[in-house]
C-alpha cells in the first residue's frame, strides 16, 4: 500500500475522531466568539466613526473635504496594518474596513489557536503509547502527514466558516459591497489564511512530535510563537532588520498583495517555513522511540 493511501486512511480516521469529539466544537466556538468580539468592537467603532463623518458631511458646507478626510483616515489605518504599500491599499479599497481589521487581528491569534488545535496530535499518542497500534501497520511518515492533513482540513474549514461569517456581516452592513466583490475577497482572504495557518500547523506538528508530554509540547509551541514575535519586534530596529526574515509574520502583509511577485514571495516564505518544520518533524518521528 502506498504512502498516499496510508496518509488518507489515517487522515480520514483522525478527522472523524476530531469531528466526533467535543473539542472541535469548542475550538470552533472559541474562534467564532473571539472573531465575533473583534467584529463587534471594530464594527461599532467603525459605525460610530462613519456616523460622525455623515453628521459632519450634513453640517459642513464642503462635504467632499470631509469624505476625503475620511478616506485619508481609512488609508492611514490600512497603511498602519499593511506597511503602507500603495498597491495593497488600492487592492483593499473595495473591502469594508471592518473585514480587513478583523482579518488582521485574527492573524495575530491564529497561531495560538493552531497550537491549541494540534498540540497533542502526536504527543497525545506518544504519551498513551497508542501510536504503537499504528507503527506496526504503516509508515511513521504516514502517521505524521495523515494527522497533519486531518488537522489542516479541520482548521481550514473552521477558518472558512468564521471568514464567511465576517464577510456576510460586512455584506449586510455595507450596501456598496457587492456579492462578486465579497466572493472574490473571501477567496483571497481564505487563501492567505491557508498559507499562514499551514506554516504554523507545521510548527505545531514539530512541537508535538518532539515531546511525549502534551502539556510540554503546547508550552514549547507557545514559547516558539513568542520567540517569533520577539524576532519581529527586535527586527524593527534598522541594524537588526535581517532578523525579521526569520519570523513568519514578516511575510504576512504581502499575502493580500495584488502583485503576483509580492504574493509569490510571501507564499514562498510560508511554504519554506512549512517545509522546514514538517521536514524536521519527519526526521524526528522516523528516528525517535515511541
Amino acid at each position: 500500500m502506498g504512502s498516499i493511501r496510508e496518509i488518507s486512511i489515517i487522515g480520514e480516521a483522525e478527522l472523524r475522531r476530531m469531528l466526533r469529539s467535543a473539542r472541535a466544537v469548542v475550538l470552533l466556538g472559541l474562534y467564532g466568539l473571539f472573531s465575533l468580539l473583534v467584529l463587534l468592537i471594530v464594527g461599532s467603532i467603525s459605525k460610530a466613526f462613519q456616523a460622525s463623518v455623515n453628521q459632519q458631511v450634513a453640517a459642513q458646507a464642503n462635504p467632499a473635504a470631509i469624505e476625503q478626510a475620511y478616506a485619508q483616515a481609512r488609508l492611514g489605518l490600512l497603511g498602519f496594518l499593511f506597511s503602507g504599500d500603495v498597491a495593497i491599499l488600492e487592492a483593499l479599497k473595495e473591502i469594508p474596513l471592518v473585514v480587513v481589521i478583523v482579518f488582521k487581528v485574527t492573524l495575530v491569534f491564529l497561531p495560538a489557536y493552531v497550537a491549541l488545535i494540534g498540540f497533542d496530535q502526536l504527543s497525545g499518542e506518544l504519551s498513551q503509547h497508542s501510536i504503537r497500534y499504528l507503527v506496526v501497520r504503516g509508515k511513521r511518515s504516514s502517521i505524521l502527514f495523515g494527522k497533519f492533513v486531518a488537522q489542516a482540513l479541520l482548521l481550514l474549514s473552521l477558518v472558512l466558516l468564521v471568514d464567511l461569517g465576517i464577510f456576510l456581516y460586512a455584506k449586510a452592513t455595507n450596501e456598496d459591497f457587492t456579492w462578486l466583490a465579497m466572493g472574490k475577497s473571501l477567496l483571497r482572504f481564505w487563501l492567505a489564511a491557508i498559507l499562514f495557518s499551514l506554516a504554523y500547523l507545521s510548527l505545531t506538528s514539530l512541537c508535538s512530535v518532539l515531546f511525549r508530554n502534551p502539556a510540554l509540547s503546547l508550552v514549547v509551541n507557545l514559547a516558539a510563537l513568542f520567540a517569533f514575535w520577539l524576532l519581529d519586534v527586535i527586527g524593527r530596529a534598522e541594524s537588526l532588520r535581517l532578523l525579521r526574515f526569520f519570523s513568519p509574520s514578516q511575510y504576512a502583509a504581502n499575502l493580500l498583495h495584488p502583485r503576483l511577485s509580492e504574493f509569490a514571495i510571501s507564499t514562498a516564505g510560508y511554504a519554506g517555513f512549512a517545509v522546514l518544520f514538517l521536514g524536521a518533524s519527519y526526521l524526528v518521528i522516523r528516528s525517535r522511540d515511541v
Partner: protein, 302 residues
C-alpha cells in the same frame, strides 16, 4: 531451521542506563517463545525493540528477514499486543479495529476485524466506546487487533496480566491454538503460564541474557527428576551408585532431587529404578515429577 526472529548483540541505552546489554537470541518459525525475567530485567525493552517501537543503540534485529525499525516493514508480518498502550478512548471498538485492519492493508477489513473480535469473545462490543471497556475487555480487544489478518508472527506482552482466571485461561487457550500455525513471542511474569505454553524461552536479568533454550533444557526435564518423600531413610549413596545417576540430594523439606545422564540411561528407566529402590528400603513416596519448576530455575539464575 528458518529463523522467524533474530536478535544479535542488541544493546539499548536510556541515557547512562543500559536496559538491554548485548542480547542475542533466535526464535524459530512456528515456535512459542517466552521472554522471562524479574521487573527491570529488560523484557519489555527487548519486546519493544522487536516491535520496532525502540531503536537499538547497537546490534541487529531481524523479523522474517526485515528490520523492524524500517518504516512499514512489519506491515502484515507482525501482530503486536503492547503492554501499556491505551486504546484511543474516543472511538468505538468496531471503528478502531476496522481502521487498523484497513491500514494494515487487509483485503476485507470489516470481516477480519469482526472475526478477531469474535475470537476473543467480544463480538458484542463492536459498537462500544473503548473508554467504556473494563481493563480485561480492553486487553482482549487489544489481543484481537494483534491477531487480525493472521500475521505470521505474533508478539504478546503480558497477555493475561490483570485478567480474571477464567478469561486468562481463555487467552491461554487462544495462544495454544495459535501454536504451530504462527510464531508467538510471549513476555510474561507468569512463569507457570510460560512453562505451560512455550517451547523455548530466554531468561533475562538486569538487561542481560542469562540463559536461553528449549523449555525442557531450562527446566532440566530431560536430566533431572524430583521425588517428594513422605517418610523413611533415603539411601543417597545407593541412589548415586545407580547406572547413569550423576547426583542425588535431599532437601530438608523432603524433596529428593536426582540428576542423570540421558546418554547413559533413559528417564523412564532411572525413575523406575529409583522408585523401586526407595520402595525396597520402605521409603514412602508422595509424588514424582520430572525436571524442576521454571520458577525455581529463574529464581536460581536471577
Amino acid at each position: 531451521m528458518d529463523h522467524a526472529l533474530e536478535l544479535r548483540e542488541v544493546v539499548k541505552r536510556f541515557g547512562p542506563n543500559i536496559a538491554v546489554n548485548r542480547v542475542s537470541l533466535t526464535v524459530e518459525r512456528g515456535q512459542c517463545y517466552g521472554l522471562i525475567g524479574p521487573n527491570g530485567a529488560g523484557k519489555t525493552t527487548t519486546f519493544s525493540l522487536m516491535c520496532g517501537y525502540l531503536f537499538p543503540n547497537q546490534g541487529e534485529i531481524r523479523i522474517l528477514g526485515v528490520t523492524p525499525q524500517q518504516q512499514g516493514a512489519l506491515k502484515q508480518k507482525v501482530g503486536v499486543l503492547p503492554q501499556d498502550a491505551i486504546l484511543p478512548p474516543w472511538s468505538k471498538v468496531g471503528f478502531l479495529l476496522h481502521y487498523w485492519a484497513t491500514l494494515q492493508g487487509l483485503e476485507n477489513p470489516e470481516r477480519c476485524a469482526r472475526e478477531a473480535l469474535d475470537l476473543v469473545g467480544l463480538a458484542e462490543t463492536w459498537n462500544t466506546a473503548a473508554q467504556a471497556l473494563s481493563h480485561g475487555m480492553a486487553k482482549r480487544v487489544s489481543m484481537a487487533q494483534a491477531l487480525m489478518g493472521d500475521p505470521p508472527v505474533v508478539l504478546l506482552d503480558e497477555p493475561t496480566s490483570g485478567l480474571d482466571p477464567r478469561i486468562a485461561a481463555q487467552i491461554r487457550q487462544l495462544i495454544r491454538d495459535l501454536k504451530g500455525k504462527q510464531t508467538i513471542v510471549v513476555s510474561s511474569h507468569n512463569l507457570q503460564e510460560l512453562e505451560e505454553l512455550c517451547d523455548a524461552a530466554a531468561i533475562l536479568d538486569r538487561g542481560t541474557l542469562v540463559q536461553s533454550g528449549s523449555m525442557s533444557d531450562l527446566t532440566s526435564i530431560g536430566a533431572e527428576f524430583r521425588v517428594q518423600i513422605a517418610r523413611g531413610n533415603v539411601p543417597l549413596a545407593e541412589l548415586k551408585a545407580l547406572r547413569g545417576c550423576t547426583g542425588a540430594s535431599l532437601e530438608p523439606s523432603g524433596i529428593l532431587t536426582v540428576s542423570f545422564d540421558r546418554s547413559l540411561v533413559a528417564p523412564e528407566e532411572i525413575i523406575t529404578c529409583v522408585v523401586a529402590l526407595l520402595a525396597a528400603r520402605e521409603v514412602l513416596i508422595l509424588s514424582v515429577s520430572r525436571g524442576r519448576k521454571l520458577e525455581e530455575r529463574v529464581l536460581q539464575l536471577t
